[in-house]
Symmetry: C2
Subunit: 133 residues, 2 copies
């Protein structure tokens, strides 16, 4: 099947599939006589795997690790779990950061009357910011 069908069946855009090939995340696809990339079900499976992993926020290099574990029949599930737990930690840190931003913004937005007058605690607060690092 050509790259368009593989894209449709995997949920990844053709451009992304070519990009993954270029960076060596997936092996170079076979070619038809006319020079078109040719994919089979196994390839699509790998592409879907990547789409799922990327969708869970794993970086491309984490995907590389996950993929090599996926292909390794002698893998230890502990290695996979470690990557997943790491990712959960990243996500939780990010959530905390976003929640803190939201809290600050909400407080400021609540205090801003939001009409046509110019005085605004949001701007005032930003202007008063001190370098805390």
């Amino acid at each position: 099947m050509n790259i368009g069908s593989a894209a449709e069946r995997s949920g990844l855009p053709p451009k992304t599939i070519r990009y993954y090939e270029e960076i060596g995340l997936i092996p170079a696809a076979g070619r038809t006589e006319g020079g078109y990339r040719d994919y089979d079900e196994t390839d699509v499976q790998i592409l879907r795997f990547l789409r799922g992993a990327r969708g869970l926020g794993f970086s491309v290099s984490e995907c590389r690790e996950l993929l090599s574990l996926y292909r390794d029949r002698d893998r230890a599930s502990a290695d996979v779990k470690a990557i997943a737990l790491q990712r959960i930690g990243d996500i939780e840190r990010k959530i905390l950061e976003l929640q803190s931003m939201r809290k600050t913004l909400k407080t400021l937005a609540e205090r801003c009357h939001g009409d046509d007058r110019p005085d605004c605690p949001i701007l005032e607060d930003l202007a008063a910011a001190t370098p805390t690092d």
Copy 2:
């Protein structure tokens, strides 16, 4: 004061300050005879403002808007508030997305025994992913 002091007093790295100048986020700084950029307290104030806004996750183009509102004495606070509310919306969407990822990953990680055996629900689940879009 030179860029190093402005950096210290604003909390932004010198490279970032030059970058902001380059992209026109801040006006070009004055220069000393020797060609060094020269900053005063007002400049540092603006840099701090930017650091605060970026720290709350506003994009550079949002910062541009916020800065122009900040400088506009005839602004309507409603315009500022609208940007802030928009940003809160972005943050909340992002939090929901991350929470969903975390939930999926947690479920998978819990079901993975994480020892030296190869069978692993994390990999199995990724491999079974279907294009849902």
